[in-house]
């Protein structure tokens, strides 16, 4: 049974991995493997591929542990960035998209009303897990919050979010851009 994330010393585990202690990687895997697989699975939506990515992530964590610098960020954040980046690269490479440049997207959306989406319900039960970012998410309109969560949790691209929300692409891009700025402001 994994310890709570507050009780497990992720930094010590990474430092031990960097020192070549295989048991440390195994402890880290037992602690975080199911959560990592859950995060990767939401993005790639295929369990075999998700397990391949967690495999690759663990190998990367092992080989690159020495490059982790505790002065620059948390050990747990580093571990998740390794796994999420592998997952995102996999889906972005596989689901190549025709991209519409921002100006075209804005022109296409010029007729669209933004009001229609303001009453949208939350697509995620985010309140319990959101931690410090929770109050800042709360300040966003639900539809913008959904954009951020569909991107981060589901790994959806701009155009996939636009399709999911049936909202214009340029609008979705603008919502995400402004929401990121608002979150940064709120968390600073």
């Amino acid at each position: 049974m994994p310890a709570s994330t507050a009780d497990f010393d992720y930094q010590a585990a990474l430092l031990a991995c960097a020192a070549g202690e295989r048991a440390a990687l195994q402890q880290l895997y037992e602690q975080e493997g199911a959560r990592l697989l859950g995060v990767v699975m939401r993005i790639v939506r295929d369990q075999a591929l998700a397990e391949d990515i967690v495999h690759d992530a663990c190998v990367n964590i092992w080989t690159r542990a020495a490059s982790f610098n505790p002065a620059l960020g948390s050990a747990r954040g580093w571990i998740y960035s390794v796994a999420r980046n592998l997952a995102l690269n996999a889906v972005r490479d596989a689901r190549r998209e025709i991209t519409v440049d921002d100006d075209t997207a804005t022109a296409l959306d010029a007729q669209a009303s933004l009001e229609a989406w303001q009453d949208m319900a939350d697509a995620f039960a985010w309140q319990a897990s959101a931690g410090r970012i929770g109050p800042c998410l709360e300040r966003l309109e639900p539809v913008r919050r959904n954009c951020i969560l569909h991107a981060y949790v589901d790994g959806l691209s701009h155009s996939e979010i636009a399709r999911r929300l049936e909202a214009p692409l340029g609008t979705v891009k603008a919502w995400i851009k402004r929401s990121l700025a608002a979150l940064r402001e709120c968390l600073s």
């Binding site: 960035s81 996999a90 949790v153 940064r184």
Partner: protein, 242 residues
């Protein structure tokens, strides 16, 4: 990073880093950010800050128990890894026949391989039915796929870029191949980043499964000694496709 240094991050860097960590950038834009991260401390700081900010959202995905064999697979891959780092010595190409580099590529590359199967399937659908060999050339350090080699006949290969890469002004990329029973690699010519290259293999034996292909960084005009002298930028082996 100090608060003062954080304030020095320009808004557009925050924006790019935010979209990168959020995951909304295209494949090409993601690669560009990743290529910049090694040398761009400001962008790196912005990315790290976003990773910390957004990390709590990872808790929204329900945990999923891995199959019992996953840890065994990971252990096997770690056991197969070489102790030494990737060979970079002058005569590094002598190491082509050692398994170490290949094991290290394979160990970290399962997902890459799975993803490439998707890319290849897509490409095969467009390729002429005669395509018989495929090679995916990946970067040795992060295994990012950079090029595909496609052979529509045993006597001609086409090198197709998958990503944009940068080459220093005084250097050039050179394309090499070597089958298992050859003594040394043979040059297939110089390569322009981002451009396809079609190479006749008339003077060479027919392509073989497992034949090595790679791109090395050489002085402008190509290797002066007719053999690779610089670091491997991309490497892969030929796979026969049905």
């Amino acid at each position: 990073m100090s608060p003062a240094a954080h304030r020095a991050i320009p808004p557009e860097t925050h924006e790019l880093a935010g979209e990168y960590v959020l995951g909304t950038l295209s494949a090409a834009a993601r690669r560009e950010v990743e290529a910049r991260l090694d040398n761009d401390a400001v962008l790196r700081a912005a990315v790290l800050a976003w990773e910390e900010r957004l990390l709590p959202l990872a808790g929204l995905a329900d945990p999923l128990s891995p199959s019992p064999r996953l840890w065994q697979r990971i252990e096997r891959s770690l056991n197969a890894r070489p102790q030494a780092t990737t060979p970079r010595a002058t005569n590094w190409w002598r190491g082509w026949d050692t398994l170490a580099l290949w094991r290290s590529l394979a160990a970290g590359g399962l997902a890459t391989a799975a993803l490439l199967a998707v890319v290849l399937a897509g490409r095969l659908a467009e390729a002429p039915p005669a395509t018989r060999f495929m090679v995916v050339l990946v970067a040795p350090d992060d295994r990012a796929p950079g090029w595909v080699v496609q052979a529509s006949s045993p006597q001609r290969v086409e090198l197709i870029p998958l990503a944009t890469i940068e080459v220093p002004a005084d250097k050039t990329l050179q394309f090499w191949t070597k089958a298992d029973d050859w003594k040394a690699p043979v040059s297939l010519g110089l390569v322009t980043p981002g451009r396809s290259l079609s190479v006749p293999l008339d003077a060479l034996p027919a392509l073989q499964p497992n034949q090595l292909f790679e791109l090395t960084l050489e002085p402008r005009g190509g290797s002066p000694i007719g053999k690779p002298t610089g670091p491997v930028r991309f490497i892969g082996r030929a796979v026969k496709v049905m």
